[in-house]
Structures are given as structure tokens and as C-alpha cells.
């Protein structure tokens, strides 16, 4: 009996399955979503544009040429020139560096601060939670761009301060998100087990709770980059962000305001660049949400 049954078992062809992991599943879901992939392509395109800017810019983005000022799109200047005769395409390509850098660093800043505060509030509860949650409530009580304007009004108008302002206004969003996640994760059995074997709080918080609360942060982070890019552009548009000679899409739009009649291309293309980038991050964020957390799917 025994040899024949083992032979039968050996006859069954072994189906080699690739080990399934949550991240691999998420990627499989994400890659099936055509719209999300389109978002990813747009984002990668602009990231490449930003990285390769010095190589692919047709002209020096800061080089003025008053003889060529306010020229329409042509073979020499594909997207035309601005009031100082600077090539708009080169400025948009270089502007991608600032816009993306600002978008990413704002969100990274708010994720670090927001997560730390949110984790402390959620894990320790009691007065720590009360104090931190009230701070979040107060920050959320202001319309976000208004709070950013107030912060820049205090610190003074420049790109660095605009970045800090946008990072601050996003802190409570991440803080609240991670706090609610921590509240549910900390009741899980593996956390009780970790506590019972005497693991210290720091290790529990950052090795166990944080990694298990990351999904919503990744989704929210991607969508927040889109908002941060618009918000920083808005501050620059109001003259509270990038200052000359920095080139930022929002500032390009601000400079184009007075040439609306003569040279509409100075306004159309920087705006399109902002819209496309933001659209890319939004599509990617929606796709990530559907892939990582099917329950949140709308």
C-alpha cells in the first residue's frame, strides 16, 4: 500500500506558484488598472524630466534675450518665450525639479511629524492623545491654504518657508489617519504577545505598529503630493513662495498674468504642466488605494 500511494503522490505534477506577498498582490492589482498605470507613466515622465533637466533643456532656463521676448511657439522655441525672452519649455523642464522636489519633501516632512505624533497619541492615549488631538483639531480648524499663508506671513516669503507651511498644514491629516489605525492595530494579538514577552514600547511602536499601519499612509501620501504641488504653486502665484531667480510653475503663472492678452502661451503651458503632474499623482493615488485596500474602493 505504502509504496503505491507514495508513487501516486509523486505523480501529481507540482504547480510552481510564486510566493504570494501582500506587496506582490497589490502590484498585480495595480498593474491591471489601466488608469492607474497611466498616472504612473505621467509621474515617471515628470520625474525623468526633473532628473534629466540639465541635459534635455534646449536653452539655459535663466538666459534672458530681450530681442526674443514674448515670442509665440515656433521651431526654435517650441512653447514660446516669456517677457525676458527666456525659453518657456526649458523653464517648465527645470521647474519640474522645484515642483516635484517641493511636493515630495513637503509630504515626507508631514508624514514623519504626523506619524510620530499620531502614533504617540494612538498608542499612549489619555492626556497625550487629548493634547495631540486638540492640536490637530486646531490646525484643521483653519482652511489649509489660509493657514499656509499665515505661516509664510510669519516666516517671510520664500520657497523654503512655503515648503514648511505646506508641510505643517498636512501634519494633522497624516496624524489623524495613523492615530485611528494605531488604535485598531494595538488591540491585535501580536501586539499583546510582543508586550507579554517584555518588548519595549519603542520597538513595538516602530517595528510592529508602524509597518502595519502604513497602507493608508502610502495612499494618502501619494494624493497629498498632488495637493502639495498645487498648494506650493498657489503660494508662489501669490508671491509668497519661489522668488526670482528660482523657477517654479506657480511663479511662471504669476509672471504671465500681465501678458494674458499679448502672450497667452506664457500662461497656458506652465498651468498644463501643473495639471498633468497633479493628475498623474491623483490617478496613481486612486489606483494605489484600490490595490492596497480594496475596502476603500469607491
Amino acid at each position: 500500500m505504502a509504496p503505491s500511494s507514495s508513487a501516486k503522490v509523486n505523480d501529481i505534477p507540482v504547480v510552481k506558484e510564486r510566493a504570494s506577498s501582500p506587496w506582490r498582490d497589490a502590484w498585480r492589482n495595480f498593474s491591471k488598472n489601466k488608469v492607474a498605470i497611466m498616472g504612473l507613466v505621467i509621474v515617471v515622465f515628470f520625474i525623468l524630466l526633473a532628473i534629466l533637466a540639465p541635459v534635455i533643456m534646449p536653452y539655459d532656463y535663466a538666459k534672458t534675450n530681450l530681442l526674443d521676448r514674448l515670442q509665440g511657439p515656433s521651431a526654435e522655441h517650441w512653447l514660446g518665450t516669456d517677457d525676458f525672452g527666456r525659453d518657456i519649455l526649458s523653464r517648465i523642464i527645470y521647474g519640474a525639479r522645484i515642483s516635484l522636489w517641493v511636493g515630495f519633501s513637503c509630504v515626507i516632512g508631514s508624514v514623519i511629524v504626523g506619524c510620530t505624533l499620531g502614533i504617540l497619541a494612538g498608542y499612549y492615549g489619555k492626556w497625550v492623545d487629548i493634547v495631540i488631538s486638540r492640536i490637530f483639531d486646531i490646525l484643521l480648524a483653519f482652511p489649509s491654504i489660509l493657514l499656509a499663508i499665515a505661516i509664510v506671513a510669519i516666516l517671510g516669503p520664500d520657497l523654503q518657508n512655503a515648503l514648511i507651511a505646506i508641510a505643517v498644514i498636512n501634519v494633522p491629516n497624516f496624524g489623524r489617519l495613523i492615530r485611528s489605525k494605531v488604535l485598531s492595530v494595538k488591540e491585535e494579538e501580536y501586539i499583546t504577545a510582543a508586550k507579554s514577552v517584555g518588548m519595549n514600547d519603542f520597538r513595538i511602536l516602530f517595528r510592529h505598529i508602524l509597518p502595519n499601519s502604513m497602507t493608508p499612509i502610502i495612499v494618502q501620501g501619494t494624493l497629498a503630493i498632488a495637493t502639495a504641488i498645487i498648494e506650493v504653486a498657489a503660494l508662489s502665484f501669490l508671491g509668497l513662495g519661489a522668488q526670482s531667480p528660482d523657477v517654479d510653475w506657480g511663479k511662471m503663472l504669476a509672471d504671465s498674468k500681465q501678458y494674458l492678452v499679448q502672450a497667452p502661451w506664457t500662461m497656458i503651458f506652465p498651468g498644463l504642466a501643473i495639471m498633468l503632474t497633479v493628475l498623474g499623482f491623483n490617478l496613481m493615488g486612486d489606483g494605489l488605494r484600490d490595490a492596497l485596500d480594496p475596502k476603500m474602493k469607491q
Partner: protein, 334 residues
């Protein structure tokens, strides 16, 4: 419900105190001497001392804070450094201009957004659905300051259909009653002026409405889709009710809660967006008032303007919260 309302009002107190502290601190967080910064490098010692006294900077901070809050409670918002007029006397026309613009924008956003969402859900996966959702997606990704400029270029510069700046034509004379000019012109029965004011509202209203409209359309569509799949809708259809009636009466009623939440959340976006829209369209609202104050370093105006807008925002969120229970009997507050 009554107990919940009272509790919700009490919960507002720490937020309002926190807001006042934050806004009060603005002047202390400025690096350097605020009076010097307000007046510039060439200011005389006497002038600096005078501004310090006006702002109460010669007192200890806690006395200044209690003076500030005491003033606020009595409606004293401080005095503008630029115009030397008490802010509470000059802020109302700006506030009214913003309220008019914001209300028009939210009405546009709700009417178009909710209907686009309903029809999209009704004609799920049709061309209308796809096109509406593409527009909604572009709408949420659009910087409104760019949209405003594009509108000006297309409708004012190219087509010359609509005015690009201001609240009414320079030749029009409107005697303000409420400072809400749509209301004022109607009260005065002057339809020509009413039309003039309406024309000036279209472009900024539309620019400001775009993002909330897109979000409302997306949320309405998804919550309608969910409701339309439910049993009671199937029953309503089985009983022979026509599609239009099922969609508008039965489904919409049940999809209103998520939509209401979005509308509440969007108010902040609208009030913030008003600053950008007002700058582009030369709209003399509170956003423009704060923006000009920043350029002039008129800190009392910055402080009071921000505090006022934030207070309005908090109040609207409170009202939306309370409305939930009124609209949806399934929600109870214990």
C-alpha cells in the same frame, strides 16, 4: 439631539481658544521686532514706540493675550495699520463680497455636481458617465488660479462675453444695503444692475466652484451606485415606479449624507480658494483684504481676517454635523 448639540458646542471652546492663541502668536513669531518690520528699516524710534504701544507690544504677553481676547469678545478686531480704521468697521463689505462669491460657487458646485453624479450613476458605464468622470478628474487636478486665468483669456479676452475683473462695471452705481450686490440690486428693483452684477459673478464663481463640483460629482455617483443596487430600490422598480422617480426621490434621499459631508469639507477649500480667485478677478473680498495686508505687513488685519474666516469655517462644519442627524434619522447621537 439637544444633548449632542450642547456637547458639540462645548467641544468648540478649546478649538476656538487654540485658534485665538495661534492667531495671537502670529505677531510674536515674526523674527525680529514686529514694529520695526511693519514700519521698515528707516523707521524712527518714536514711530516704532508708537506702533508698539498701538499693538500693545509694551505689555507682558499674557496681558496682551487677555486684552486681545477681551477685545474679540466685544467685537473689537483691532485697528488696521494701513488705514488707521478699526477693522470691525471696515471688514464687513469685504466679508459680504466673499460670502456672495462663495455662496454662488457652492450653488453652482451642488447643482451641477449632484446632477452630473446622479446622471452618471443612472447611465452607469455610458458615454455620459465616462465624459463626466473625466471632467471630474481633470477638475480635481486643476489649479484654480490657472483655471481663472484661462477663463479670463477665453471669455473676456477672446470672446469678450464676460467681464474679467471687479464686482460691477465702473459706470454702474450701486447703493449698498447689505453689500451682497445681488440682493441689493434686487431690493432696489434694478434689473440692469442685477444683470451686471450677475455677469461679474459668473467667471470667479465658476472658477471657485470647479474643484468642489468635481468632488461632489464623484461622491454623488459612487454613493448613488451603492444605493441603486440596494433591495429597496429593486422593490421600487419592481412595483413599477418609473426610473426618474426612483432615481430622484428614493435614491437621492439616501445618497445625501456622503454628499453633505463633502459639502461641509469643501467649505474650507472654498474659503481658502476665495483668496486665489479674488486675487485673479480683482474681487474685493476678505481673501484680497488679507492678501493686501500681507504685502503691507498689516498684521492686525492678517490676524483678524484669518481668525474670522477660520471661525466661519468651524461654524459651518458644526452646522453640517448637526444637519446629519436632522436629515438622516438612522444617525443618533448618544
Amino acid at each position: 439631539m439637544f444633548a449632542y448639540t450642547i456637547r458639540r458646542l462645548f467641544m468648540l471652546i478649546p478649538v476656538l481658544i487654540g485658534m485665538s492663541i495661534l492667531v495671537f502668536s502670529i505677531i510674536y513669531l515674526i523674527p525680529g521686532n514686529p514694529a520695526q518690520i511693519i514700519l521698515g528699516q528707516r523707521a524712527t524710534v518714536e514711530a516704532i514706540a508708537q506702533v508698539e504701544q498701538q499693538l500693545g507690544l509694551d505689555q507682558p504677553w499674557y496681558i496682551q493675550y487677555f486684552d486681545y481676547v477681551g477685545g474679540l469678545l466685544q467685537g473689537d478686531l483691532g485697528t488696521s495699520i494701513k488705514t488707521k480704521v478699526p477693522i470691525s468697521n471696515e471688514i464687513y463689505p469685504y466679508l459680504a463680497a466673499t460670502i456672495e462669491l462663495t455662496v454662488v460657487a457652492i450653488i453652482i458646485a451642488i447643482v451641477i455636481g449632484v446632477n452630473a453624479g446622479i446622471v452618471s450613476a443612472w447611465l452607469h458605464n455610458s458615454w455620459f458617465d465616462y465624459i463626466a468622470m473625466i471632467f471630474a478628474l481633470i477638475g480635481v487636478s486643476m489649479p484654480i488660479f490657472w483655471l481663472g486665468l484661462m477663463e479670463q483669456y477665453i471669455f473676456s479676452v477672446q470672446l469678450e462675453w464676460l467681464p474679467s475683473t471687479g464686482r460691477y462695471d465702473a459706470s454702474t452705481v450701486i447703493t449698498p444695503i447689505t453689500h451682497l450686490y445681488l440682493v441689493d440690486t434686487l431690493l432696489q428693483g434694478n434689473m440692469a444692475h442685477f444683470w451686471d452684477v450677475s455677469k461679474h459673478l459668473i467667471l470667479p464663481g465658476l472658477a471657485l466652484a470647479t474643484i468642489p463640483m468635481a468632488i461632489i460629482a464623484r461622491i454623488t455617483r459612487s454613493s448613488m451606485l451603492e444605493v441603486m443596487r440596494s433591495d429597496f430600490i429593486r422593490t421600487a422598480r419592481a412595483k413599477g415606479l418609473n426610473s426618474f422617480w426612483v432615481v430622484y426621490k428614493h435614491s437621492l434621499k439616501n445618497a445625501v449624507i456622503p454628499v453633505l459631508t463633502v459639502i461641509g469639507l469643501q467649505t474650507g477649500l472654498l474659503l481658502g480658494g476665495a483668496i486665489l480667485t479674488e486675487t485673479i478677478f480683482g474681487w474685493p473680498g476678505i481673501g484680497r483684504y488679507i492678501y493686501d495686508a500681507i504685502n503691507y505687513r498689516d498684521y492686525p488685519v492678517i490676524q483678524s481676517g484669518i481668525l474670522l474666516v477660520a471661525t466661519i469655517f468651524v461654524m459651518i462644519n458644526l452646522i453640517v454635523d448637526l444637519l446629519y442627524a436632522a436629515i438622516d434619522p438612522r444617525i443618533t447621537y448618544n
